[in-house]
């Protein structure tokens, strides 16, 4: 329907929705409106839905103030082209409060794609932003439900993590899941560093898991990508049920494996950049520091802290990947 075209001008960014293929060379740009006494303008639905939320009508809905604020934040921070599903769903969205009916797994809210409803189980208003992001990134294609980075049952862990990540980025911390979102949120934040913020946000809002996997496949093998997605799904499942001793080790293993895969993606990206434009040690250093943010990654489960991975693992991956192109760094150089 619309093309992803950006026009960068001295007036700033312009997002081009549609552009005719017709060659427009000899034209006269009329600065006067073509018709007097206009009774009605009938625009195609896609043009209307692209750019129009009836704010007045939205304000009158239940949670109108929050919906309006969410709309303004989205429109201020994302391109119209990324908001197709948002504009499509916001018009008919229903929000129901079902207080006192917290589900067994302590979920405080959920978005139902089939009925385009948000169900809120408490009066925790921060939850609504999380569910609104689900709404803004959901659609059906044929009989398959796509929501953010989930497609039917695949990618749910990635999707929940990134939904919460975006909610915190733009609205502060919500509490949809009482148990723990931290690990998923942290994992997706690292993935975003590989894929890029604007790209990943756009892919999420367009419910494009395939696009995300394609981005990752530039640096990872098919098996690594599959493992990453399924590990994060398993994390969500394991943390959705109460973590017992027998599942804790599994949980920590999946978490560690996920990080190591993401480390590989990042380092391989760095290797490519190094091959394309020679990077100085200073630049490599900065990129690595920006990526790692300290080095050691921990998980907090049931009040206890577990070290998941850290600089040692990263150094090993770094040295291994660079050695494949005949570049050797000694350990002390990498650790700096």
């Amino acid at each position: 329907m619309l093309s992803d075209l950006l026009l960068v001008t001295n007036q700033g960014l312009v997002q081009v929705g549609e552009l005719t293929k017709r060659k427009v060379i000899d034209y006269k740009l009329n600065k006067r409106y073509p018709r007097e006494n206009i009774v009605k303008v009938k625009l195609p639905p896609r043009v209307i839905s692209d750019c129009y939320v009836d704010i007045a009508k939205l304000e009158r809905k239940k949670f109108g103030e929050l919906l309006t604020y969410f709309t303004r934040v989205l429109e201020s921070n994302f391109f119209n082209l990324d908001l197709d599903y948002f504009y499509n769903n916001i018009k008919t969205l229903d929000i129901k409060e079902l207080r006192g009916k917290i589900l067994n797994n302590h979920v405080l809210g959920e978005y139902l794609i089939d009925t385009n409803e948000i169900l809120l189980y408490t009066d925790c208003k921060n939850t609504i932003y999380h569910e609104l992001f689900h709404m803004a990134s959901s659609c059906f294609r044929g009989n398959t439900a796509f929501s953010g980075f989930s497609q039917d049952d695949v990618g749910i862990g990635l999707d929940e993590g990134y939904t919460e990540f975006l909610t915190r980025r733009y609205f502060g911390k919500s509490r949809t899941f009482i148990t723990n979102y931290e690990d998923q949120v942290k994992l997706v934040s690292f993935i975003e560093k590989v894929v890029g913020k604007n790209k990943m946000e756009s892919l999420y809002l367009k419910a494009n898991l395939k696009g995300l996997l394609k981005e990752l496949r530039v640096y990872l093998t098919q098996d690594e990508v599959v493992d990453l997605v399924s590990n994060i799904d398993k994390l969500r499942y394991l943390y959705g049920v109460e973590i017992k001793d027998f599942s804790l080790n599994l949980y920590l293993d999946y978490l560690r494996e996920s990080y190591l895969i993401i480390f590989k993606a990042f380092v391989r990206k760095l290797v490519r950049e190094y091959q394309q434009t020679w990077l100085s040690n200073v630049i490599i250093d900065k990129k690595v520091n920006d990526f790692l943010e300290g080095g050691n990654i921990r998980s907090y489960v049931d009040g206890k802290t577990y070290r998941i991975t850290g600089l040692d693992d990263f150094v090993n991956i770094f040295q291994e990947e660079f050695s494949k192109i005949g570049v050797y760094f000694n350990e002390s150089e990498v650790r700096k």
């Binding site: 026009l7 960014l13 034209y27 073509p34 006494n37 043009v47 129009y52 429109e75």
Partner: protein, 80 residues
Amino acid sequence: MQNTFTITTKDGEVEYEILATFKMEKNNKNYLVYTDNTYSDGKLNIYASTIEQGETLKDIETDEEWELIEKVLSKKYIKE
């Protein structure tokens, strides 16, 4: 894909062909560039408006906006 829209006046209905739609980040306005496929001195008549509330077309207000419309039509700076 429907590439046209209609404007109804007291004199009747006229169909226009959409040439471009775009949004300017700076002022958050949505623009529509269109033609009725008529010609003046051999040149295609093109018009442009901003879209408000999804159903109202408003006049372009500034030279800056007209300059932008010309740039979009020229397609010279577009990055895919």
